[in-house]
Amino acid sequence: MVTPTEWLALMEALSRGFAGNSLVSFYHLSRSLLVKTEALFDHFDLAFREFFTGLEVPPEIFAELWQWLGQESLRREIGADALKDLPQYDWETVRKMFEERLKEQKEKHNGGNRWIGTGGTSPFGHGGHHPGGLRVGGEEGGGMAVKIAAERRFKGYRRDVTLDVRQIKVALKKLRHLRRTGSRLELDIDETVDKACKNAGEIELIFTPEHKNDVKVLLLMDAGGSMYPYAKLVDRLFSAANSVNHFAQFNHYYFHNSIYDYLRPEIDGRERIPTAQVLKELNPDHKVILVGDASMAPYELFMENGIIDYYDRNETAGIVWFERIASHFRRTVWLNPMPERYWRHPTIAAIGQVFPMFHLSLEGLDEAIKKLTAF
């Protein structure tokens, strides 16, 4: 989100001529002042491309901004009064449009021809001419800037799609909020020395509650067949969680589509541990992260003996086990690698009723962690 502070900074920079007369400079300038993480550069590129190649942008706004940016006079000093002439509503509208476009683009990824290159109906399309003399599509003018935006060089930095181990670790580290806990006191040497100095040498011992990290994490991962496309992602999540060595305790188990009477400690091992035992052994403080696509045949989730491994049996339906887990632990989340638009599927919807469900992307992970750390 662009805040007023940032917008005003851009206005100031523009009024002082930093964008010169070129849309390329404007592209860089506005990006530096409005977007503060490379993760959102790609969103910015999309918005920029839409806006400046855009044909269905209400012409008045576009023309006004365009003129204002492109005017020869801008190269000369633009006076403070000229800046005042730029009415407030302009910003609001522009910002709203900016956000709307962003949303729009998220919803239909293929863009469609509404946004890009329908050509012809507006004086601002590719190859058109601006009355003020800036050629869109020329080397120096808008075309170049739009091309830069269209390259989408920062696609790989988006956080809503990519997830590497380091990113996950950064996210997971937020779990380990250090808290001063318990009643054990430890001598705070720094504070003691400080106090003694301030008291001109009078020694006063300062004790503070023990500083300790008490975050315990239980990771339950679906290793079923439909999860295959996401295996790498889950693996990364696991290795990240495993290497965050600040958890007081870290347990993990695998399951197959749904959780039933047993969990597996190893992804392809034979060993099985009764789910009930795990629940008994782990206290409710564990923060539980379940990972799975939650997609299966309804009977696998809702019926006794619905288990997909047909030589196996389960006396209790999967959904009941999920409910038990949800009620035993205080904080649980479900991470689903499937895009949200599929979440109406009956078993996904049912599991989503039991656990707060988030998309397995960096954004989703951040949200999930907020949920896990909330009081």
Binding site: A9, G17, L29, S32, L33, K36, E38, V193, D194
Partner: protein, 286 residues
Amino acid sequence: MKDFTRYTGTSDYIVSEDLQNDVNVSIALGRPLLIKGEPGTGKTLLARSVAAGLGQELLTWNIKSTTKAQDGLYIYDTVQRLNDSRFGGNDVSNIENYIKLGKLGEAFARETQVVVLIDEIDKADIEFPNDLLAELDEMKFYIPETKKTIAARQRPAIIITSNSEKELPDAFLRRCVFHYIEFPNPELMEKIVRVHFPDLAEQMIQEAMTAFYQLRETEGLRKKPSTSELIDWLKALLAAGHNGKVDLQKNLPFLGALLKNENDYEIAARQRQAFQKRSAMTPFRR
């Protein structure tokens, strides 16, 4: 645009036009410039170049996990004072003797404009950047012990680097000009290499660059080699007298200068072996 000194790069540092502009915008608007980018892409060096380019002094504040915002402003050295009071020394009644300005404090107190580098801000506690907001906005702070205010005579240029180990708070980000140093493309990299090695044989540059970018593409590397590793590697090659005499396509000496992670080293070494085997099997194709 004539109302301030402009940074236009220095001969020992290759800087894109966008980055130059961002430096100038940040100085003109009096907002800190936040620099991110892969390790070794010249974030720290930028500050040195800006200071040199503007003919100003550089004050570097290196951030560690234990650094507190207060350390950059001033420290009241109570331990020294206590020591002096017991064993004699300075005038203990004058607290001012025991107030030591931090890097930011020093920058504010200078008569002339300086450049301040806050290096690797993400190493500090998550609250650290927020604790500096007011001081960075107003460029002044108050010392209660001496009842004095230290205010900048000349707003220093402030350059802040981050390796994204932690996310930075929004309130802090809002105030910054942000620049992400992209990994240099081969064209830019060639310029950087020439800055460091003006006499390098053309063929060696080309071969080294090809090998380097290929190596970066290796699947599964934990840490891709960056500009600084390329420079180190070339130094090693030169020191060993390889200028233009080795076919870097065939073998890569001093691979350890490029890949410092043991795991990565093995991955790359294995891949090169496979590659060599393949080319050995097709001796007739040219």
